[in-house]
């Protein structure tokens, strides 16, 4: 993975020193809250309901065991013994003292981490397929390009005051695990007929109060043109994006209002001026960054095959975990392990300091020192030999981290919601917990198959409800929580935005409603192979509406 060079160390070190001074001046009353707030936000420090919250960037969701151990230590020494992994592949600490935050940032800097650009109207942490560099179906590792974008966008003066925040995601496989079509820019790394690497470029996707699917404005952008073309997009946005209305300031609104063809034309015109400039990436630079992400040297471990089959036979729990949480690796003797942070009835995305340390140990011993954070709020060990799976499984089991539910109905995404968040209107986590408990049976989950439930506690959609197969949006109505249900959303290569199915449900009724939807699906699917989303796309919302509200709802 990428290692800081002298410039990076210097840059992050300087920022920590500046921030330490800013906090000291704030605490002594030398600067006002109005002056200080943007400064703390630039360093990932928010104020939430109970305390400050620190959001730490995990670039493209990749970290090593040293970094994970440091996150655990911060959770223990400065927080309340846990952290929350987010849908942006970051981690948040919920209880830090403002006076401790400079020391925390110092601790992070020591392990090449920071919280820069995790807030504000700038280019945020670039997210990536969490299986990058490991998945069998990948064309090429997209992370070197994410790293190039990170370096280019960090502290870039031209992008420090964008109309609104800006999120970029990259994937290197046909199967989109990074939800690129609901990002401001989505980059799909692929090869052209000549075998050269380049990107399909999507622009103007996003969730929030106006969900939109990104438009593909270029089918193949040569890799060397990544920065010049991205700069062209940013310039069109920076110039024309709306600054008069916060709710219309994202690039999706600009693309929508300008029209896809005209927007693409403006980008191409801007790009014409830039493509021969110093922004063109020299091949040597591309290769130098790519070298940081060279795949680990994986020895053949063919002995794993026979042993794995035998052990699966002996242990049904292990067999179902392998089936559900281990996916194919480029190297046939290896697997990609998803560590579920969704124990039955647990808090989606939360991990204790002890769990983080256990995962760091496993990464070091069995996964070439690499860990990933997925946007689905799970962790990943990307390079585990099949021969080691059983040892990893048992170690995870001890830490309550071996729930075999990746991609199933209890693998729920949920934002922090009203239990923590100052923006939220309703709680998310307790709803996720109740649904998880209702569908706790492993057998029942298997029978239901692939089904993504995503829950947001407000319209900002941090819980990605718009792209949940079943999405839940918590709102406040007459002082009480109410949950609106959307159906048919999807955040993959066939992205769709879920449609509201009808009137919302009170907290005590929402789990029943989800169960009604699931039972309706089970009753109408053509076979066990027809997944929820496929069935929904075949039959549409009516059978679900009828099951939820009765036939009379049609007139409403």
């Amino acid at each position: 993975m990428y290692r800081y060079d002298e410039f990076d160390h210097d840059f992050v070190g300087q920022r920590v020193a500046q921030y330490r001074d800013q906090v000291e001046r704030r605490l002594s009353g030398e600067i006002t809250e109005d002056a200080f707030k943007p400064l703390r936000l630039m360093n990932g420090v928010y104020l939430q309901l109970h305390a400050y919250m620190l959001r730490v960037a995990i670039p493209y969701g990749t970290l090593n065991s040293t970094q994970m151990r440091r996150l655990a230590r911060i959770a223990r020494d400065y927080d309340k013994g846990y952290g929350h992994f987010t849908t942006r592949q970051n981690i948040q600490f919920n209880w830090p003292k403002l006076s401790d935050t400079p020391a925390i940032l110092e601790e992070l800097a020591e392990v090449e981490m920071h919280a820069i650009q995790t807030s504000g109207n700038c280019i945020r942490n670039v997210s990536a397929d969490h299986f990058s560099g490991a998945a069998a179906d990948e064309v090429a590792d997209p992370r070197p390009y994410a790293e190039i974008l990170r370096q280019w966008s960090s502290n870039h003066p031209e992008y420090s005051f964008l109309p609104r925040k800006f999120k970029i995601a990259v994937t290197g496989a046909e199967r989109d695990r990074a939800a690129i079509q609901v990002h401001d820019i989505g980059l799909h790394l692929k090869r052209n007929e000549a075998g050269e690497l380049g990107f399909a470029v999507y622009v103007g996707g996003g969730q929030g109060r106006t969900p939109m699917i990104a438009r593909k404005i270029r089918d193949f952008l040569p890799e060397a043109d990544l920065l010049s073309y991205t700069t062209a997009i940013m310039r069109v946005y920076n110039l024309n994006g709306r600054r008069d209305n916060k709710y219309k300031a994202r690039i999706k609104i600009l693309v929508h209002e300008t029209g896809e063809a005209e927007f693409a034309r403006q980008v191409e015109a801007e790009w014409d001026k830039l493509k021969a400039s110093e922004l063109k990436l020299p091949d040597a630079d591309l290769r130098a960054i790519a070298a940081y992400f060279a795949p680990p040297e994986l020895q053949d471990r063919a002995e794993g095959w026979a042993g794995l089959a035998a052990r699966k036979k002996d242990d049904e729990g292990f067999a179902s975990w392998v089936r559900q949480n281990v996916t194919p690796h480029k190297h046939p003797d290896y697997g990609v392990v998803t560590i579920s942070l969704k124990p039955i009835g647990g808090v989606p995305g939360d991990a204790t300091d002890v769990q983080m340390e256990a995962i760091a140990d496993l990464a070091e011993r069995y996964s070439h020192d690499e860990i990933r954070v997925s946007h689905e709020q799970n962790l990943v060990l990307p390079h585990v030999a099949l021969a080691d799976l059983e040892k990893v499984y048992h170690a995870l089991l001890e830490q309550d981290l071996a729930t075999a539910n990746a991609g199933l109905i209890t693998d729920i995404i949920a934002c922090p919601g009203l239990d923590y968040c100052a923006l939220a209107n309703a709680r998310s986590i307790p709803v996720a917990q109740e649904i998880s408990n209702r569908f706790a049976s492993a057998q029942r989950q298997q029978e239901i198959g692939a089904l993504k439930i995503k829950i947001s506690g407000c319209i900002n959609a941090c819980g990605h409800h718009h792209v949940g197969h079943i999405g839940l949006l918590g709102v406040e109505k007459k002082g009480a929580e109410l949950y609106q249900i959307t159906l048919g959303g999807s955040g993959d290569e066939n992205t769709s935005i879920g449609q509201i199915v009808g009137r919302g449900f009170e907290p005590e009724k929402v789990t029943d409603a989800v169960e009604t939807i699931v039972d309706t699906y089970l009753g109408l699917r053509e076979s066990a192979e027809e997944t929820f989303i496929d069935a929904y796309r075949r039959v549409g919302p009516e059978p679900f509406k009828e099951a939820l509200y009765g036939k009379t709802s049609r007139a409403a």
């Binding site: 605490l27 104020l47 309901l49 109970h50 009203l418 239990d419």
Partner: protein, 103 residues
């Protein structure tokens, strides 16, 4: 009309309420209740003043009720601030002050 004044403490962000003794309290139980317009104005003024003195941030006057002699914030958001996360009773005021009684 019943209102209390709440904020988060500057140094650590912890939720606090203005008490009858003029101090910022870590629990809502003994918050000063304003029962008429003038008293609310006084609360707002006290909030402004503490904000300018760099003691607190995010200051707000919130609606409360009295239930069995205890202060009960009208909005769920404020009840959660007064107790802690609803699914983790080992955290927040509800854990720190066993008799926290806001929700």
């Amino acid at each position: 009309m019943m209102k209390v004044l709440t904020a988060n403490r500057l140094t650590d962000g912890i939720a606090v309420w203005l008490g009858a003794n003029g101090r910022w309290l870590e629990r809502i139980d003994h918050a000063l209740i304003a029962r008429h317009r003038e008293a609310v104005d006084a609360l707002e003024q006290a909030g402004q003043s503490a904000f300018h003195d760099n003691l607190i941030v995010d200051v707000a006057v919130i609606d409360v009720d009295e239930v069995d002699g205890e202060i009960y914030p009208i909005r769920l958001r404020e009840r959660i601030r007064a107790k802690g996360p609803t699914f983790r009773t080992d955290l927040g005021k509800q854990a720190e002050f066993q008799q926290a009684s806001a929700a």
